[in-house]
Symmetry: C2
Subunit: 259 residues, 2 copies
Amino acid sequence: MVVFAAQGDPRRTMAMLWRAAAAAEVRPGPRPTLSVDVIVEAAVAVADAEGMAGLSMRAVGERLGRTAMALYTYVADKSELLDLMYDHVHGELGVGPAADWRAGVRAWAEELWAFYLRHPWVLQVSMARPVLGPNELDSAERLLRALEPAGLSAPVLRGVVSQLNHLVQGAARMVTDSRRAARETGQSDDDWWYARSAELVEVAPDFGARYPLLTWLETNKDSTPNETVPYMEHEARASFEVGLELLLAGVEATRLTEG
Amino acid sequence: MVVFAAQGDPRRTMAMLWRAAAAAEVRPGPRPTLSVDVIVEAAVAVADAEGMAGLSMRAVGERLGRTAMALYTYVADKSELLDLMYDHVHGELGVGPAADWRAGVRAWAEELWAFYLRHPWVLQVSMARPVLGPNELDSAERLLRALEPAGLSAPVLRGVVSQLNHLVQGAARMVTDSRRAARETGQSDDDWWYARSAELVEVAPDFGARYPLLTWLETNKDSTPNETVPYMEHEARASFEVGLELLLAGVEATRLTEG
DNA sequence: GCTCATCTCCTTATGGCGTAAAGTGACCGG
DNA sequence: CCGGTCACTTTACGCCATAAGGAGATGAGC
């Protein structure tokens, strides 16, 4: 369930994203009992609670005591609603300036990580068709501001920004997908892993000989055994932290050879 | 459309993934006219051509001149079919050893990049529930073998492997999502970008003042203007290349401080 | 206080999805 | 030739986005 935003009429959608509180005209016909804002908030609530797959026009309408079709008075279609939802939640982001560029990047990444865990459905909106709303662009500009003191060239800077996004998204997706799978199947992460790996050693008795390095990697874990955090989530968080430091080290090294 | 593999009965599915050409017993009833292999190949063909959203049991059955329900004689459900498809295509991977660990990692990443562009639907199978088939594990072991000479500690190695996967997947997803959006909407990447950005400057006339760094980044492009490659694909490929070098530089730096 | 245009919101309908249930007829050993 | 077994089919269910058309509320002009 990857979903495209930014598919509707660009003029209409962009106007809704960037509108500065449009003046309410008085017009004939019954008074609206809903509003775009109310619908967007209801839709975000549905998506937060039920996931992207549970986000249906029926569900949003039901949460507001209306039918699905009632929403079409306010939004052109589901894709436009998604645009508005996407930019709406990005308004939650806004870390301030930091001591140096490394701290700034770390803070930006940490905030985005928490944001994705709070709104896992955002990870299912494809970045290949960016929404281009004000809140998303504000966040991008903040990252560039944090990175500015590093003094990178434009091509490298573009790569760093992409890398940061892929890093946070990849690791966060691991966590949210894992939670979603656990909820949908009623089988916890650890139960799933236990069942599969038990089957694996049975069906591939030569595992250790065929995969010596995977085996070594798997046995060399320093995590405390009595974790309350599921296996996959722990791994994802670790990969986020290590990956971030690797990237910062890579930027530093590139910075020196560039400058 | 993110889809979970590895949801069925683990015993049954793992046996099918790791089977060593099961002996064909003679049994009463009509002779099977299909086979698991034929079905998997047909399903891969459908997914390659129509994408994950077009992969339906009906479509696979139709390609084989059967109904959707006929497939259920051979596979337990769609999730099991997906497991088999996933591991089947991973059998295409297999880069050999390289001169040094950097070259090995680059070759591994390049091969995976091409693989994802060939089978874009694979990017929609969630990594939070790995299939654990032989071909996928072979590929993971090959990466570890390439990285072995770098002499990394287990935690850092795990981070590097995750980063590499996120890097290739993130950049490749950009390309495949972009192509998919273009096909589904009939609007090319560049057309979409042109329409949206034209609308953006109109609706946000203070863009340059509000987003000075984004503006600077956008105007400092060194790409040749007469590209035959769509904008988004060009960007994605560049981010893949820069990201890979950043990661290698980060590994090198970490390697030195570790060792 | 009427009419009429306009608007919100409703009901209904369409085609696609995975797959459960039940039916049809082919093939085998005896 | 019989009876069990199996491959494959038809039908049916609930859910999705949204097109089409209808009901009733409201405001403007008179």
